[in-house]
Symmetry: C2
Subunit: 354 residues, 2 copies
């Protein structure tokens, strides 16, 4: 069952030269005679020599590999961030390994240890909704492995990060609901453990305040991002004596699950209840009616995070974020208005006749 790999020593023996020379030839060191280099390259190719990155990383103390850890990837958000990261990292000559936590804190800790034990040169992270303890992140920092966060950033850690203007985006989304005449605007907020939850909620509250609408605590619920919970909460909202006439949901899957409840009740969207989501998942454009939502520049988020990480890794003197403010990049979002808040215009409406 043991795999057999060719080593530089095999090559050296065959050519009757030293492994140092083989190593030099293979890595492109200048001091190798053209003749020798050619012989080595040819033999290596014909033997299908495959360098041992374990030995290499082990001896060189850097692996030219970065890790990216995401809490889940069933929505399109994280996958498309990852694609952005890969673009930049591939161009910079780094390998990327992906870890997925399934929203489990335990997996997060073990994936972090996996990446550290493989001595990756840096890590891009978005933490799970369960994460309340950040020791595994500070451990990486103490070990000198640069970290860059995106989307879900631990609030009391000073780390480089890429975020969007959650507060303003939420404010704008809720204001949009107000401007189309809604007064009883409900909010399904995410788990308390995520910054985004707090920022978006604050945007919601401040938009109400600006327009003189009293905040009704009965219309705001936090939950932990499972579809079943959304449905229970949404039913509860609809059964209130004076049910909401609009909903601002923390993200698109939430909004879509809520839509199902509304439709099952026989209510009309947006006439009876207008709905806004967040992130512009692929599915937001597919549901019926189309979901008004806040588009995030996903692949730009990924590219920006990757570039930040490159800078951290390339820094001659490691940045010490216990004494220095960590950089933050805030990207902007865009509200995409669809039929879940503004009904189709007659002219735009798809004709049912041939």
């Amino acid at each position: 069952m043991k795999a057999k790999y060719i080593t530089i020593i095999d090559i050296a023996r065959q050519l009757n030269i030293s492994k140092s020379t083989v190593s030099r030839a293979l890595t492109g060191h200048p001091n190798v005679k053209e003749h020798t280099r050619k012989a080595v390259m040819e033999l290596a190719a014909s033997m299908e020599y495959q360098r041992n990155s374990l030995a290499l990383g082990f001896s060189k103390h850097n692996t030219n590999t970065i890790g990216i850890m995401v809490p889940e990837f069933m929505s399109t958000y994280f996958p498309s961030v990852i694609v952005g990261v890969q673009d930049v990292m591939q161009a910079a000559g780094y390998n990327v390994v992906i870890c997925q936590q399934n929203e489990s804190y335990e997996s997060e800790v073990s994936n972090m240890k996996l990446l550290l034990s493989y001595r990756v040169d840096g890590i891009i992270v978005s933490h799970t909704k369960e994460t309340r303890n950040f020791d595994h992140f500070t451990l990486a920092q103490r070990r000198g492995v640069p970290l860059v966060f995106f989307n879900r950033v631990p609030e009391d850690m000073n780390v480089p990060n890429v975020i969007v203007n959650d507060y303003e985006a939420a404010f704008q989304a809720v204001e949009h609901l107000i401007l189309i005449g809604r007064k009883r605007i409900a909010h399904l907020a995410g788990p308390e453990s995520l910054v985004n939850t707090r920022l978006r909620r604050q945007g919601y509250l401040d938009a109400l305040k600006k327009h003189g609408i009293a905040h009704n605590p009965d219309l705001m619920l936090s939950y932990d991002l499972t579809t079943e919970k959304v449905k229970i909460y949404m039913k509860h909202f609809l059964e209130l004596d004076t049910p909401p006439d609009a909903l601002f949901a923390i993200n698109d899957p939430t909004a879509i699950a809520a839509m199902e409840v509304v439709k099952a009740k026989g209510l009309r969207i947006p006439e009876d209840i207008a709905i806004v989501g967040f992130s512009n998942d692929f599915s937001a454009g597919l549901v019926h009616p189309g979901l008004t939502t806040v588009a995030q520049p996903t692949s730009e988020i990924g590219r920006t995070a990757a570039e930040m990480l490159l800078q951290e890794m390339r820094a001659k003197v490691k940045n010490d974020y216990t004494i220095k403010k960590a950089p933050t990049v805030q990207l902007s979002t865009r509200l995409i208005v669809r039929e879940s808040t503004v009904p189709e215009e007659k002219g735009k409406k798809v004709m049912k006749s041939k």
Copy 2:
């Protein structure tokens, strides 16, 4: 910029014992005095010792890590297969690293080399649509690294694989269209490089034949899975003198893109044209009308592939598939009928009044 990690030698020095003893204590070797073990464990914990997997894998010749390579992950298919793989592998004590190829052959080759150079113990693969050369796969086999394929399996390689009954599923899907009275059934097939394309197409052809419907070549087009192409081809179909009254699409994104074209033309689904997709992506249930499609047991595919790989890795004597038939597991699919082929029944219909 160099990361500083604690080693077993640091621990040994502090406790004034040999590194062998530290290693034994840490790995749970029986022959260590309880007192010593405790001291080692405590010091290791307090120093936040992190074992160096590079050194370990390097010296032990196995890394307890497997790789999984997928062509893309913007649909829900691959992510949920991955989750299945992770379930099984985590339980078996293996780490999983994920690589994503963005449907690029080049990335596939370089990811394969990455995984091999990191000496993973096994790899689960679904190849890209560009892949026509399989040398990078046979290389892994020659190195003794077990491979298990799923979904997209190279036809002329004898490798363990997990597939679904593509042929029967396609046959059944097309038969469904025939049974609801459709005669001019178009087929948008995938790229020639994928087995699935051929199997599903054959199912399509044979279903037509069984029901005495002559195959009209004008109604079948192969394309390379980009949304733009789908739209062009679908427009072409609709502009034929006698346009199709049904469409069987190679997958759900294709079906959904086609639906958009149909709707933009002002045609009704399913009255004017019935549509069937493949895979039951999350989005299939969201589009309007709901898409009839073939559900694949994604997480079971992942779990099965993982178990096959475990068996390969655990085999005392490596299976030599140049002389022995490789195992195949075929899982079954299920046709999910939605409104894109059968209109909502009155009773089932969502009531629009309160």
